[in-house]
């Protein structure tokens, strides 16, 4: 069970710029650190984060091993139509998490 905190406005005026903030629980293991027994801990990071507003991609980013654990992403979008924003994180070891928020545009 993935652990996500999303902060987005429930409603916005048409044409307004809204900020969407998302925080996810993830170790972001770099793949460079030795573990207690001296062997390298395998890399386990989120590779890609995408946001789609009613299916259209509005934001995406590639993540790297240098990004801290529990990455926090904040981005802006123009509110054009009511609908759902789907946030998706995918990464190593089959990691895939999706979270959605509804935004009403008046």
């Amino acid at each position: 069970m993935a652990n996500v905190l999303v902060n987005a406005p429930k409603s916005a005026k048409r044409g307004a710029i809204v900020e969407i903030k998302a925080l996810i629980l993830h170790p972001m293991e770099t793949g460079f650190r030795p573990g207690p027994n001296g062997t390298i801990i395998p890399r386990n990071i989120i590779e890609r984060f995408t946001a789609r507003w009613n299916g259209a991609e509005i934001f995406s980013m590639d993540m790297s091993p240098a990004i801290s654990a529990n990455p926090f992403v904040s981005f802006f979008a123009v509110a054009t139509e009511s609908g759902t924003v789907r946030l998706r994180w995918t990464g190593d070891q089959g990691f895939a998490v999706e979270e959605q928020v509804a935004i009403t545009v008046e």
Binding site: N3, N7, S68, N70, F72
Partner: protein
Amino acid sequence: MSAPRVAAVVAIVFMVSYAAAQVGGDKRRSGYRDMGEALQKMQDDDTANPGMLFVQLGGELWSRKAGTADKSCADCHGEASASMKGVAVRYPAMARDGDRPLDLEGRIDLCRTEHQKAERLAPESRDLLALEAFVARQSRGMPIAPPADPRLAPFRAQGAALWRQRQGQLNLSCAICHDDNAGKRLAGIVIPEAHPTGYPTYRLEWQVLGSLKRRLRNCLVGFRADPWPSGASDYVALELYLMERAKGMALEAPGVRP
């Protein structure tokens, strides 16, 4: 208004605010006040504070059944927002018929083994810290209120002695840094007064939620002493003393620290 009346009003306003400042003359500083503005905002915003991820996890564990008794925390304690409010501010405390004080972690463990008939959670494991954070979150903003139980007195005295005891190759005590030199800088970093207001705390350095024990071990290693073994009574004793020292300060759990 005439000039003398204005002067009188100004004088009264000054006296009142001066008196208020004296009444609220608590000079203690939470580490929160020594952080940058960005970190303070991070702690205050429940959707930016990474500690809240663990609180969320703790909330799930709170209502998950465990052990052979097949009970969840919620089955006995109900809604945590009511039953756990004000709990974290009075720990460590004595169990009803116990012979030693328990910190919040110890209390959760006791509940698991006695009432849920489940296995102990590993010390400082993610699940245990998450539960601890979830319980502590219910008391956020409340003043720290150590119990006046006389049975705690010898342990608190032990904690006070540890606080002043010189240790390690650097031959330092907690008090030398956090009482005598608090507010000055050590390698560019402000030395905090060491009030345990935000535990369990998310330290950016750790990139994970951590306990007060972990923080104490950091300090011990810092002055090159052997950290106390896991489960040593020294941790709880020192926590008792620290909570007494921070009596009345607001609980911030889960805190964020650099």
